[in-house]
């Protein structure tokens, strides 16, 4: 018999990502799946992350309260609600398009400033 996690694997989901700026990596702390009228949070630490994710949020643009009991709509809009520098949610996506498909922990990358294209043409 398959476990619930195995059943959910491959389904469209939202990644909730914590940025560890000082340590230099970002990691998926939870994956959120729409299940009909319900929301399922897959996380290694449910005591910590479920209360943070499964709460009512207020949409900034409309002032509308978005609640976990709204099921799929809650999951679809989670990226509008959790979008901080330290914690954010991705948009709902298929497993094939998952930016964290290969690994749940991604290191920060050194950035070289881009040179202005117009200047380079002269």
């Amino acid at each position: 018999m398959s476990t619930r996690r195995e059943t959910l694997r491959g389904m469209p989901h939202v990644d909730v990502v914590k940025n560890e700026w000082l340590a230099g990596f970002q990691h998926v702390v939870a994956r959120v799946f729409p299940e009909g009228d319900e929301v399922h949070v897959d996380t290694e630490d449910p005591d910590r992350w479920e209360p943070i994710i499964l709460r009512s949020f207020v949409a900034r643009d409309s002032g509308e309260e978005i609640k976990p009991d709204q099921g799929a709509e809650f999951v679809v809009r989670l990226h509008e609600l959790i979008r901080g520098d330290y914690l954010f949610a991705t948009e709902l996506h298929d497993e094939a398009a998952c930016p964290f498909h290969e690994r749940l922990v991604v290191p920060i990358e050194h950035v070289e400033p881009q040179h202005v294209a117009a200047g380079a043409l002269r």
Binding site: V17, K18, N19, W21, L22, G24, Q26, R48, P51, I52, R55, S56, F57, V58, R60, G63, E65, L81, I82, R83, G84, D85, Y86, L87, F88, T90, P99, F100, V106, I108, E109, H110, V111, E112, P113, Q114, H115, V116, G119
Partner: protein, 229 residues
């Protein structure tokens, strides 16, 4: 902390040489970068050209720090300054907010973890800044592993409106309609009486937005009740 030390920290953030710029591959709409400054301090940088309305959003980040400091609550918001850096995305010289990164944090932790004093200060702070985006998120518990962490407020890009209306804030809603505690009233009274930070807020914000901060503070102080309508 003595004001001179905070002044010194602000000068350091504004002038220290940048040794490294780094970013995460996955981000929110407003791209942030980690800068490592000479001496080894890591800071979060938000260049103005990485978001729509980026200039005012960055300045609001710095204004939140100015206000926290002016209220005598410099522990509530990360020290933040404006400086010009070479934008990692465009290569142009752009205004950028630069703020100290909190260590060991739990984002959006349950509010029951925080002290009544911290919740009150956050509620009043959000009322004064008119925060439009603290409904359920945009705060940290520091240290994240502590059973009695301190509350830190983050992300102020959607604060400081010119109009007066109730903020969208979890902390404000928790204390809305209640009488202000003495400690909060005292901080508010000093802030209003001294017009602390007024000049600096006017440098960062449109005049109407800076004036609205003091109008909201005076409203709270005169009624002694947490209610913005």
């Amino acid at each position: 902390m003595p004001e001179a030390e905070l002044d010194e920290l602000e000068r350091y953030l504004a002038n220290a040489e940048i040794l490294d710029v780094a970013a995460f591959s996955q981000t929110t709409a407003h791209h942030s970068y980690r800068l490592i400054l000479e001496g080894g301090v890591a800071v979060l940088a938000k260049p103005a050209d990485t978001a729509p309305e980026g200039v005012i959003m960055c300045r609001r980040e710095a204004a939140a720090w100015v206000l926290a400091r002016a209220l005598g609550w410099p522990d509530l918001v990360s020290t933040t300054v404006m400086r010009v850096i070479t934008s990692p995305s465009s290569g142009e010289e752009v205004e950028t907010s630069v703020q100290v990164i909190w260590p060991d944090y739990l984002p959006d932790a349950e509010v029951a973890l925080f002290s009544d004093a911290d919740i009150w200060r956050a509620a009043v702070f959000d009322a004064i800044v008119g925060h439009a985006d603290r409904g359920g998120h945009n705060w940290l518990a520091v240290p994240g592993s502590s059973r009695s962490p301190h509350l830190k407020l983050v992300d102020h890009g959607y604060a400081f409106p010119e109009a007066t209306s109730p903020p969208s804030s979890t902390f404000y809603e928790l204390r809305r309609g209640q009488e202000l505690p003495d400690a909060v009233s005292d901080s508010l009274g000093d802030f209003v009486a001294r017009r602390s930070g007024l000049e600096h807020l006017h440098e960062l914000l449109p005049s109407a937005a800076a004036d609205a901060v003091f109008e909201r503070a005076e409203t709270l102080l005169s009624s002694s009740v947490l209610e913005i309508s």
